[in-house]
């Protein structure tokens, strides 16, 4: 049985130590407010004891602190940062370190060992700030209310296999046995004949409204300039031809199945060897596209053919920018 209130207290002590000793200038952590147990990620600087006292770690810390770092990269550049991560955030951080997007020496990583996440909306709002938040091998509870992990609304957590996190400081102990990643939903899709699979995926592509929420929340979607939606280099009537040539329009913004297919398939390829299966894209999708069905196609290829795990080692060369002479030629490349 894990007690997240005491783990949060330990986390607060570590964070306040780091800030007081000047080991870091800022801490990025989850904090809670009046709408407990809901949390948000917050940037905390020295002297903000009021914010430090609200730092929390619980299964409701569903957002990614790495997405916060990604979005605020320019503002945080060169600053010494403490960052609180759970297992999938740690993997995502490794991906960004592999790509030299962040510098390891700028970061103090505080890892919270995670058993799985749960949707805070499933619980009634607890009364008082000291209602215990607990979890065990079967489920998660707030006060007297509890739900099973299977019903927590976080399907990717059920197949999470991350437990080799190596942060600078660590919080908590695993209370649930983690398994090998198994992608049952994908196996079900792949068992269909090609024609049915085409229908399945075409229906997913057709539903997309191109809001790019999946890209925005993704902790590793960190390109300065997105090939699909080049905002920085938007083409206007006054754009000179030379610049236009440097910004090919890979997919139009038109909401059509063929253009959506280009976007979503490209995203799956871009995520090859980078997707950490946090599942946040799927949860953020406003039209409920089963994005993991698409992304797991490349995750499956990377794991099955190349035995590569995204974000395992920060010193790795990224998957698609490296090669091995022993790579198979066509073995198992098709379903």
């Amino acid at each position: 049985m894990r007690d997240y209130n005491s783990e949060s207290a330990a986390l607060r002590r570590i964070c306040s130590d780091l800030l007081e000793k000047g080991a870091v200038q800022y801490i990025v952590a989850w904090t809670e407010g009046e709408d407990r147990p809901r949390v948000r990620e917050t940037l905390i600087e020295k002297g903000r004891a009021d914010l430090v006292s609200r730092i929390v770690w619980s299964p409701f810390c569903t957002t990614s602190t790495i997405t916060y770092l990604k979005k605020n990269k320019a503002a945080l550049a060169g600053k010494k940062l403490g960052v609180v991560v759970k297992d999938c955030d740690f993997q995502a951080l490794n991906v960004l370190l592999q790509e030299h997007f962040l510098k390891r020496e700028d970061l103090v990583i505080i890892g919270a060992r995670c058993d799985g996440l749960a949707d805070a909306e499933l619980f009634p709002r607890p009364k008082g700030a000291d209602v215990p938040v607990t979890s065990d091998a079967t489920g998660v509870g707030v006060g007297h209310a509890s739900i099973r992990w299977e019903d927590s609304g976080f399907t990717t957590c059920l197949t999470c296999s991350y437990e080799h996190m190596k942060p600078d400081h660590v919080i908590g102990e695993y209370g649930r046995k983690k398994g090998k990643p198994d992608w049952k939903h994908l196996t079900r899709v792949l068992a269909l004949p090609p024609g049915k699979r085409r229908e399945h995926y075409a229906a997913l592509f057709d539903a997309c409204i191109r809001c790019y929420a999946c890209r925005e929340v993704c902790p590793v979607c960190a390109c300065v300039e997105c090939a699909i939606d080049p905002g920085e280099r938007a083409i206007t009537p006054r754009t000179p031809p030379g610049e236009k040539a440097c910004a090919p329009q890979w997919a139009s913004h038109e909401r059509h199945v063929s253009e959506n297919a280009v976007y979503l398939t490209t995203r799956a390829m871009h995520m090859a060897g980078r997707c950490v299966r946090c599942g946040w894209c799927e949860r953020s999708c406003p039209v409920g596209i089963a994005l993991m069905d698409i992304l797991d196609l490349s995750n499956d290829a990377v794991g099955r053919i190349y035995h590569y795990e995204a974000g395992k080692d920060p010193a790795d060369v990224p998957f698609l920018v490296s090669y091995a002479e022993t790579d198979p030629d066509d073995k198992g490349a098709s379903h």
Binding site: A202, A203, W250, V257, V262, Y306, F319, E325, H335
Partner: protein, 162 residues
């Protein structure tokens, strides 16, 4: 980039597939050239696009070709170790076979997307590959996946079709 030219020849009524072939300047393009000079017969459904190296091929080139109406795509470069730029085809192999796994998982038949390595001397291999891919794709029929919306009830009627 609409492929209007390729695939319009042949018997009336018979499906003529459109195949886009990205071929590398140093090996496969020379093989294609040799095949032409040697008068090797092969179906005319292929649009050859010469690139300097198979490592130039971004997965998006392939995806874009499919979405713009290609029924099949061929990427062909030098044999491993023979790349003019030393390692270009090693990178291409890893990324294109990952792409192949993704595309076939989506239900695009593996015969529609081929990655081959053909050296400058192997004109006959080029002929074989082209004949095979055109024959296979002709048998499979047109690829409509990326072209037409599937027939499913829309939740938001009145939403304009693109």
């Amino acid at each position: 980039m609409k492929m209007e030219g390729a695939g319009n020849t042949g018997n009336a009524g018979e499906f003529q597939p459109k195949i886009v072939a990205f071929i590398c300047n140093w090996c496969t393009y020379a093989a294609a050239d040799l095949a032409g000079v040697s008068r090797l017969q092969m179906p005319p459904n292929v649009l050859n696009i010469r690139v300097m190296c198979s490592g130039r091929i971004n997965p998006m080139h392939v995806i874009r070709a499919f979405s713009q109406g290609a029924d099949g795509v061929l990427v062909s470069g030098c044999h491993m170790g023979d790349c003019h730029y030393i390692t270009g085809n090693y990178y291409a192999r890893r990324r294109l076979l990952t792409l192949k796994s993704v595309l076939t998982g989506m239900g695009i038949e593996p015969e529609r997307f081929r990655v081959t390595w053909i050296s400058a001397a192997e004109a006959q291999d080029y002929q074989t590959v082209i004949t095979e891919i055109v024959g296979n794709v002709k048998r499979l029929g047109p690829l409509r996946m990326f072209r037409e919306a599937p027939v499913v009830a829309r939740e938001t009627p009145g939403c304009a079709e693109g």
